[in-house]
Symmetry: D2
């Protein structure tokens, strides 16, 4: 096997040359303005070795990738009671579907579809003003990445708020079932700001290290979550992290991952690496086209799939 | 960590004492007649060491667990063209739901729900009489397990056929969309016989070894499927192996697994072990209640979750 | 107002000249072979005066129009207990949708969608061989029309049977819920033969007279159904007679009516006329394009809409 | 046949004695506070003769009955272009279902479910402040009834606004599809005020006279809508006026009607009478239990069903 550094460099070169780059999201101007030529990749190994390639240092809108951090934070606050208000099954439908809510009494299928993430945001609000809850998320992500330059892009947050009718529909609908505890605009305020987090691939991969490392922050050695909870968050990313493309991602890549409409994906190779890729063009399921392809190749070349015995069995 | 033998023995003792044992399936008499007291477990490690406990040698109706073997066989026959007729996404609905077929033009969501497995059975029929296709499946499973005593329970197959209106509905519906190539009764004949395979936990765990071993049969060293295909079948088991309880199984157990209504579950710890459990009482999603619990405890005590770095990181 | 004879003649002339004639059904050869140029119309007034135009004497496949006669017969056999196995609400979906059955425990929404009509056919079988039940339907329709030349087109019945996978899916599905009492192939045998009734517009309008005449056969004076039941069948035709185009038909035509995929429509102007139209080209909802247009014009020119006070208020 | 006055008086007596009175709506306090003992009935014959019984003079919250007047007004404003934004088919689902909107691109099935009525309210806003649009509706209803004491119950409007999360979900959802032209809170402001119209049975029956009278206001002789439009509004009431109980209402009553959650129903016997009933207890579909029963008896005793030839054929 070539070394990781070579693999990452080669993949980035292949992605730079890829002709089909998918469709950039256009529902808000700040996303529509991003060039489909961008591609970044950051791999942080378990020992801390970092491999960066392409636009790995360029901040982008992490969007739904933030749902992983928000869930982690909310589980810390309310514990497994969280699961009384959100399910943990794949939804079998699109990220913003409202149909399932009607037949299942306003309980979203999982915390990684929009409806579920809005409930999680509502939990983060408990006892807080929206500004404080947003600040808490930002501080958490900065601490995970060990980088205080991570910021929330207010232009993105504002644009989301202005066009977020479908999310407002989800929020109102769940409120009708009693599954939101705060005024809609506050809960959505937290949600839209969380989605507007701007991070580079390097920052994102750093922030995701606790998920490969049994819940610990390798910098500090402090436990972010228990090993069991880290496993479980990984399991949720595996089954639900890519909306109605989650099965496909598991099939092709075989790592827990969470995608965002900005083109970012955070993927976790437990015990081996935390990985972030970014390319703004999306496939027909709304997940990064080249990001997925880059991860597929990385796993093929490293043997990091969780479904592969890897070095344990020889190769 | 205690050794695997001890862990398996202790879990079997715990399960024997469990008060809540779920509901045994009653839709056909041969299943309804099985005692909820039964519990068996077989763990075959990568090196071939076998740990058996409880009713590990008692044959039971593997039912939908057979879908894993049928899929493997069909992939060998038709290759990735199989995916033009079956999807690979979690369905978000029950094992025998027909709703999704209507909106998705008769293409089942994945090969592990009934509709998908019926299409796979239809592929195994190509160029064969039903009797031959059934024989081929039986020979395949016997070869995987290295055990020629595995048999098809004709009483079960007949009972399935007599009461299989819902599967007949699925088959007719898919035929209406052109997604079955053979007469309904032939395709269902293959499907019902495949579901009627009777195997013990030991036999089932033996048959599943290729999925932990990069596609090879450890007895013979021969490749059953390529390493990539083994990974992918594992991925499908992870996201789709337990119907609308797949997310929950991934969350609690964290292994690729496939359950059957007879109470059996085959689970795979890549590079570590092939595992079969059996207890006929089901939970509300139709998956073995104690089987799932036993696997959850096994993984907790061995660290075999695919989402856990395990020994790689120290513990 | 011009007299009815003139109105009927003019409408037939207009329809003969209509450029857009819809799409002829092609799922079975006997239907696909019919020319879209055909148009027939028969209006039988309450006093027995008959107005025929175009191909009013040509027999065509009445298909789902037969559901009205089968329902009438079944109500006579089992009475209002029928409604324990079939609903009476518009389905909001296509004629052959299976989705609603899953969420409503195998009870079809109404007797005029395929699933509902199959349950009705199953009721007609009670205590009979299929041949007898079919004979009973044929005798009933012949008696209603006072015409023993009405026949069942065996070629159509056979073609339906050979391609009826979707209806077989519906039947099997309802059997799984316990909502069919006979073997699938018998129930479908009755259903397919009933749909294969061949009648001319004249015969169809004659057969429908009891629905405009408080349940009595004007020829004989005998009561076919009670006045209340005649009203209620009319109500069902109004709300459910044109599948997911029923609202549109009520809006445009304003008469109780039942359409068939062969291009026929039976419509009832209570107290005024029984009307049959036929033109094989269908609109996008599967209802006769020119048949609907002809009825719309007839009602505009006669004031026969049930939503119009008509002569009672002066005009 | 006894005279209408006697029939109305007797029905009111029967309803006063009815033991099962249904469940009063409780989602807002002003509705929950109404006694289930209330029952009122007003029948205005075509010649203007009025028959009042029970609480016929007591104002109640007409709620969704207002959708008939709002639709009439909107059709006058925008004409048949209205149908580009709202369908005219029965929905087959509950009054506040959101599922259908997802699969049909935000176009509500008909103007009498909540989603459709919200779009109609949005049309009434065009070029107006909410206050003006509300004033226009109020003036219209007052003019129809010839009674300037009709008012909007501000306490009801406020309560609707405070608890209207599900309607807000519908509105946001349709806005996401581009099917609302104004800010959500304005459109809902109009909608909630329209639903808060308080009218007595007498006033409601007076306001509905144009629908039995070919579109004319009998007081003034002025045309409110064309005869064709009156027929069509009646047709919509018949197929869609009682949500997923519309088929049942047509079956049992056989008149165009529109119900409201306050327990009121407006029904139209074309050419014969405009009828309003009120009893706050609802059946399981959300329609007035005794109101429906009273109408059923009225029609049985008068022969006013539109599906009955009535006097035209002798009786």
């Amino acid at each position: 096997m070539p070394d990781i550094a070579t693999i990452v460099r080669e993949i980035a070169e292949e992605m730079a040359a890829a002709p089909d780059r998918g469709q950039v999201a256009t529902y808000i101007p700040p996303l529509a303005a991003v060039s489909p030529r961008r591609f970044g990749m950051a791999v942080i190994e378990a020992d801390g070795t970092a491999h960066l390639a392409g636009d790995a240092e360029a901040p982008f809108s992490i969007q739904s990738v933030s749902k992983v951090f928000a869930l982690t934070l909310a589980l810390g606050k309310v514990g497994d009671q969280l699961w009384q208000r959100v399910g943990r099954e794949p939804s079998g439908s699109a990220f913003n579907s409202i149909v399932q809510l009607e037949t299942e009494s306003g309980i979203p299928r999982n915390p990684f579809i929009n409806a579920g993430a809005i409930v999680v945001a509502d939990m983060l609000l408990a006892g807080h003003a929206p500004r404080e809850a947003i600040g808490e998320i930002l501080r958490f992500v900065r601490a995970l990445a060990g980088d205080d330059t991570i910021f929330i892009d207010e232009a993105v947050a504002r644009a989301e708020q202005e066009t977020g009718y479908r999310n407002a529909a989800l929020a109102n609908y769940m409120h009708a079932f009693g599954n939101l505890a705060h005024p809609i605009e506050r809960t959505l305020g937290v949600y839209f700001h969380q989605c507007a987090l701007a991070m580079s691939c390097r920052q994102l991969a750093l922030a995701g290290r606790y998920l490969m490392a049994r819940g610990r922050n390798p910098d500090t050695g402090f436990s972010i979550v228990s090993p069991q909870r880290a496993r479980r968050i990984n399991a949720l990313m595996m089954t639900c992290g890519h909306y109605d493309g989650s099965g496909e991602f598991a099939y092709r890549v075989g790592l827990p991952g969470k995608s965002g409409v900005g083109g970012g994906i955070l993927a976790v190779a437990p015990g081996k690496a935390s990985i972030a890729v970014w390319s703004p063009g999306l496939n027909e399921r709304g997940n990064s086209l080249l990001g997925t392809l880059a991860l597929e190749r990385l796993v093929q070349r490293t043997g990091w799939s969780v479904f592969d015995p890897g070095a344990d069995l020889g190769r």
